[in-house]
């Protein structure tokens, strides 16, 4: 069953076509990688899907509902959660409180509940605490819960952002360059974590943006290759990630290695 459907989604900035009539289908539980060079429209596409920007044309349907042009918080309420290219944590809050904010949509209660603190609210708070601890442990940050988010390493901050997104229990998780800025060890940790995730039937569907094929975790089944706002190739990952397609997208003669389920690309020697 289709979870996310984009129909001819378009976004212009002045004369520039940043996203040009893109179609995309993501199945329930599906895992798709979006690849392309800088300026291909990957992040703009994420902004359009998550409501941070509004399309000039086209339609976005999520879980059977038209979400085109809705504000980000309303789209999040449908179960579509994104992360950011530059980590956007609540830096002064502790790691565990960051994850607890992720439980906002799943819980209820405003000012009156806060003041009276009825038994149901205390129960909810205990559940939120348990969920947050579980998720911190899941991404390997169990011992770092009390630290302010700003005190974590960049790699840990990336993982914390993912744990926080998972706290929403999303149906679809949009990951915008989750490995950007990580060192080799951090990148490999993250890829391994996401690979585990891609195989997990209980995990949400995922769409991951990257401009390095090395960062595509094993287990990702589909890919969308973009260049200058348009589609170069789309479909099963093995058909899309080829030396020929990558060479077109990145505008140079590239060769591609496959080791296990991972891709490695470089400029063809002598080209």
């Amino acid at each position: 069953m289709t979870l996310l459907k984009l129909e001819r989604v378009t976004r212009r900035f002045g004369g520039l076509l940043a996203v040009d009539a893109i179609d995309l289908n993501v199945e329930q539980g599906g895992v798709t990688a979006i690849i392309g060079p800088n300026g291909a429209g990957k992040t703009t596409l994420f902004h359009l899907i998550s409501g941070f920007q509004t399309p000039n044309g086209g339609r976005i349907v999520f879980d059977g509902q038209d979400i085109t042009g809705l504000p980000p918080d309303r789209i999040a309420a449908h179960g579509l959660i994104r992360t950011f290219q530059l980590v956007q944590l609540f830096r002064d809050l502790s790691a565990i409180e960051n994850v607890k904010v992720g439980c906002h949509l799943r819980t209820r209660g405003g000012i009156v509940t806060a003041l009276i603190r009825p038994k149901s609210a205390r129960q909810t708070e205990a559940e939120v605490d348990a969920t947050a601890r579980e998720l911190l442990a899941f991404v390997g940050l169990a011992d770092h819960g009390a630290l302010p988010a700003s005190a974590l390493t960049y790699g840990q901050q990336r993982l914390l952002e993912i744990a926080r997104a998972l706290a929403v229990r999303p149906k679809l998780l949009l990951l915008d360059e989750p490995a950007a800025g990580l060192d080799l060890g951090g990148r490999e940790d993250l890829v391994a974590q996401l690979a585990e995730f891609a195989m997990d039937p209980d995990a949400p569907a995922m769409v991951l943006v990257t401009h390095h094929v090395e960062e595509i975790p094993p287990g990702f089944t589909h890919a969308l290759l973009l260049r200058e706002g348009g589609i170069v190739a789309q479909g099963l990952i093995g058909d899309v990630i080829t030396a020929a397609n990558l060479s077109v997208a990145f505008g140079q003669d590239l060769e591609l290695d496959k080791a296990g389920d991972r891709f490695f690309a470089r400029r063809r020697a002598g080209a």
Partner: protein, 327 residues
């Protein structure tokens, strides 16, 4: 018991230290208030003002410290609460509690009218709009002489009473105000420790991330604005009843400046900051009086030093003590 010999082990002390650091600002504020109560006289008046300001700053802290927003016009809501109470009790014979409720409603209505359109916009629109509303309310207080008495103000406002008992003595007033501040602090702490408070802290941290997690940013900002306006209205009401007099100058722009000083010196975003800030800043003019012409200079220099070396204010000073730094 085998564990008893470990009671003063370094580990135990280290575990106690955070608790002590948190308790210290409360203990200091309480000690000063206790001393004022015993000593009596002028100090009781100074501390009464400090406690009224503490209520105002607790509200300000909610909006500026917890939610990370800026307002320059909260004096308007104190004025609306204060004048509401003053007019209704002195001219119309309302009981203070009813007048307080009406004044707060008025302040909330104005806060809604100012906040609803401006809090939807990103940037400093709200700060500008609040600055304007502060000036407008001041002008109204000056010009609408038939109701406000203009520059002359309103005098003969009855003291606070509960169920027919008027709180008349200075000491009784101090105790009453201390209870109000305790309640205001308690409610602010409960708000911060809830889902509501977490949403505010999220907005302060990153509006984009908050939105991406499903928080309706404009709505939560507006709620924080209204709650803090209610604290301001309460402070305004308390002021007119305690002093028995109100004039436009009472709620002028200097109120904002003084409250900002208290908030930042005490520790913005901390639970104890508003109280300790209000108490210490209220004492400073007395302390620096010996310096005569240089008192403003010393005051300013002291504030700058505090903000450089303890950006989280007096409430977090204890955390800066040696041995408290971990890893």
């Amino acid at each position: 018991m085998p564990t008893s010999r470990n009671i003063i082990s370094p580990e135990r002390l280290a575990a106690l230290a955070p608790g002590l650091a948190t308790a210290l600002p409360w203990a200091v504020a309480l000690a000063i208030l206790g001393y004022a109560f015993i000593a009596g006289g002028y100090l009781v008046t100074v501390m009464s003002f400090a406690l009224i300001y503490a209520v105002f700053v607790i509200g300000l802290n909610l909006f500026m410290g917890y939610a990370g927003q800026v307002t320059f016009g909260h004096n308007a809501f104190a004025a609306l609460g204060g004048y509401g109470s003053a007019v209704l009790t002195s001219a119309y014979g309302w009981p203070p509690i009813g007048a307080f409720a009406a004044g707060t409603m008025l302040a909330l209505a104005v806060a809604l009218v100012v906040g609803y359109p401006t809090l939807r916009l990103k940037g400093h629109y709200l700060a500008m709009a609040t600055l304007a509303i502060g000036l407008i309310i001041y002008e109204i207080a000056v010009q609408w002489q038939a109701v406000t008495g203009g520059y002359m103000g309103i005098s003969g406002i009855p003291p606070i009473g509960i169920g027919g008992f008027d709180i008349l003595s200075d000491r009784a007033q101090l105790v009453f105000l201390a209870l109000v501040v305790a309640l205001a602090t308690w409610s602010a702490m409960r708000l911060r420790a809830s889902r509501f408070g977490r949403a505010l802290a999220a907005i302060a941290g990153s509006e984009d991330a908050a939105r991406a997690l499903g928080i309706d940013v404009a709505r939560y900002k507006l709620m924080a604005f209204l709650v803090s306006a209610a604290y301001a209205a309460l402070a305004g009401t308390l002021f007119v009843h305690v002093v028995g007099f109100v004039s436009p100058e009472v709620f002028g722009l200097h109120m904002v400046v003084l409250a900002f000083t208290m908030l930042y010196a005490g520790g913005i975003g901390t639970a104890a900051g508003p109280l300790i800030g209000a108490v210490i800043i209220s004492l400073l003019p007395e302390t620096f009086r010996a310096l005569k012409d240089y008192q403003d200079l010393a005051y300013g220099a002291g504030l700058i030093l505090l903000l450089i070396y303890a950006p989280k204010g007096l409430a977090s000073l204890a955390e800066l003590l040696p041995g408290r730094r971990r890893s």
